[in-house]
């Protein structure tokens, strides 16, 4: 399986994603934001970081960079595009997934492990994952997901919520919401579910020495679903 990770000026989780994808069997290529063409890919990843220093609005300038037109075309033709953290913020700015990401409710950067409940498994990302709850890791300042009531209705009608913040038993409650997101939303799909944006970093959870191993479950499953 071939993957591409886009490096924007200010991306800083691009290497981590490269390491993770290769570990689970992807042939990964790093792609520079100023390139026009995507290499042939089964998966495109927009990594975490601070593209363009988060200036103007998180993800907004990166969403207009040259490579993004190819990424948007790829997504619109059904290709798998995953945005993690700043990548999610970029996806939101392109309109590929609905909603916006505001500053965290308590106005502080948060770096810690969280539990997320998988809301939908009828998609390439979470199909066949045995667990309902995964332990992931977040590190962000603007992960407070927000959308209008109309948008939320559509999102729910189409079952577009990918994962919600919860406790270790899968209870989705306010006290387990780290950043104030509507409905504890941690990740969301486009209507067709080939585009996934999420705040947690599965690439930081890929061996026992790190924060945990649930990221391994995610990546192992993802490559299996693509084969």
């Amino acid at each position: 399986m071939k993957s591409s990770v886009i490096t924007f000026p200010g991306s800083n989780c691009d290497r981590d994603m490269d390491v993770a994808l290769k570990k689970f069997g992807f042939k990964n290529k790093m792609v520079w934001h100023a390139d026009a063409e995507l290499p042939k890919s089964d998966l495109v990843v927009l990594p975490g970081g601070f593209s363009y220093g988060d200036y103007l609005r998180c993800g907004s300038m990166a969403s207009k960079s040259k490579i993004m037109q190819s990424v948007i075309n790829f997504a619109n033709s059904g290709g798998l595009v995953m945005g993690i953290c700043n990548g999610f913020q970029i996806l939101v700015e392109t309109g590929l997934v609905p909603g916006v990401l505001l500053r965290n409710k308590y106005l502080e950067f948060i770096c810690k492990n969280v539990f997320v409940k998988i809301n939908d498994k009828q998609n390439k990302y979470f199909k066949n994952v045995n667990n309902d709850v995964l332990e992931f890791h977040i590190a962000h300042n603007e992960g407070n997901y927000f959308c209008t009531n109309d948008q939320l209705k559509k999102i729910e009608d189409n079952n577009q919520i990918a994962i919600n913040y919860c406790d270790e038993n899968g209870n989705i409650e306010d006290q387990f919401n780290p950043n104030g997101s509507i409905k504890n939303i941690a990740g969301i799909f486009n209507k067709e579910k080939n585009v996934l944006g999420m705040m947690p970093h599965p690439e930081r959870m890929i061996d026992t020495s790190l924060s945990g191993e649930d990221g391994s479950i995610f990546f192992k499953n993802l490559i299996k679903n693509l084969k």
Partner: protein, 730 residues
Amino acid sequence: MIVNEQVAVDHGLKKDEYAKICELLKRTPNITELGIFSAMWNEHCSYKSSRLHLKKLPTKGKKVIQGPGENAGVIDIEDNDAIVFKIESHNHPSFIEPYQGAATGVGGIMRDVFTMGARPIANLNSIHFGSPQHKKTKNLLRGVVHGIGGYGNCMGVPTIAGQTSFDSSYNGNILVNAMTLGLVKKDKIFYSKAAGLNKPVIYVGSKTGRDGIHGASMASANFDEKIEEKKPTVQVGDPFTEKLLLEACLELMAGDSIIAIQDMGAAGLTSSSVEMASKGNLGIEINLSKVPCREAKMTPYEIMLSESQERMLIVLENGKEEQAKKIFDKWNLDFAVIGKTTKSKKIELYFNEKKVADIPVNTLVENSPMYDRKWKKSKLPKKNKIKKEDIKHLKIIDTLKKILANPNICSKEWIWQQYDHTVMGDTIQKPGGDAGVVRVHGTNKAVAASVDSSAVYCWAHPLTGGKQVVCESFRNLISVGAKPIAITNCLNFGSPENEENMGEFVECVQGISEASEYLKFPVVSGNVSFYNQTKDEGIKPTPAIGGIGLIKNYNKMITMDFKEIGNIALVIGKTEGHIDQSMFARNILNEKNGPPPEINLFNEKNNGETLLKLVENNLIKSAHDVSLGGIITAVAKMCIKGKKGINLNKPKYLINEMEYFFGEDQGRYIIEINKKDSKKVTDILNKNAVHFDELGTIIENEVYINDKTKVTIDELSTSNKSWLSNYMSK
């Protein structure tokens, strides 16, 4: 502007220093030249009060590749890998403008590290604030934490450990010390020594603005009531540009076009060009009209003294300009050829085709002032005798809870959760342990790092305190299973012109020297910050020590959480119940006098090295050094982390129970071992003449002190974790 003695004094120079400048130049300097002298001769850049004493520090060792004198120190971690590291203060700016002050402190130290060709792999910090009740403390703490996070998080470098304390002596002068470690191949280290004639001198990075002019001079003076007026001397950071600069520099460094490279830190273009020329024994000619400026009509004086961030000066090989420019264009950074190296051994500056400065390099460096300041030796205070009636009414559990909730002991999770500590995917020990640990990417090795200071001990007796900080750093590295290699120091003191403050400095440095010499734990880099005082009141002497250790196989790393019920806990090192200057004495008995605990360097070394033997033989399940709050506090933290309890044995000693549990004797650790390994462990300890006592057995959920006294781990955890977040949310 006409330069005279008054103008020189306004620049922070002393009258005799001004006379010396005129004598060296054999004429009156012009204003640009005076600015350059004031920047190079201030305390911050010239180390004029400290140089004499810093010479005593042991700086050599088998693993030392580069000691003090470069942008940062470098140590060998085998297999052609090396670690570049340094700690630096940004105290004054952080008090005036906490967010930017702290942020640019982090940015500056990272630049020092990647200037040498190393990719930063971990950040640490040591931050000290006034009393929690002081009206400024909360905002300063919030601002500093946001600033450190704002810069480090954006750079994508994990902040893996740190230290925070509160003491009223920092009410008017907080401390912000930032430390960075970088990884580099031994044969790809870059230095700041210029070489060769007519080599192009290149300016890269951000444009030069008017921010930070006289920053280094500001950091070399006492604070007074007009301090708010100095806000414009604080630099403004842009971590995004620094991230680009990092990537661009490392890309250029992969080739062979750089002769020398130096970041523009304190005193900006002035100190970077002077240092490169001085080390290479050359001259440098710069055309200031070519320096990329952010604002119109900047004068030569402003350009030379600006401390705008995220800038570098590079001496390139001839003919490599185009190739280098391409890289900086790719990263959208300014690139300008602004001058060349010359044989004149002078700094010659041109602006609009006119010569605006002409200074022999040696007058700025070798001939800069050096003072043998007067200093006062301090006496070892007399021991206090604890009166029985003072402690009779104290209950051990209540006391423990109070100590666990003390601002200087409590959990600092509120702080480190705001720092990205997991980016780069190699953090295998997060903040909150004895040391942070990151893997050397793609290998089985890991590097442990810790930053420590003990201002109270240093204040009570500087010589002992200086030794203690080095030992504490040593112990923290041992506790995670790392072999200590070298240290960096950040020496934060009051005014060197005050005999007592100067004495604290001299004796702390002596203590650091003795301990680092004995433990073979050399000082490879560092920084001195004097004048940490407001009006006449100086801070407690606060040397911060950043220690680095190596773990050859990261699977052998040790953490402090108790692991398994039924295992036993031992105290390594002798407990004598030293209570003066302890958390217990100062905060529970309100007794602030007396000597700090004694340091026995033989025991420190022997205990630590023996522990590493146990680690090597896989005999240690968890470990934690005994520091503030004594045995019971250390045990409580291991219980909280491991969510387990302990049944403590009755102390064998004749000393009082309070002294036994809360005493702060040095050189001690608590280790957890499996019962079946007991004989193997005690054999090794006995063979090496290491004193130990059996402390208790690990059980579920509760701490039993004797049959009648117990407390749940949840209660202890609440005491430990709630103070800081409650304080900050009020």
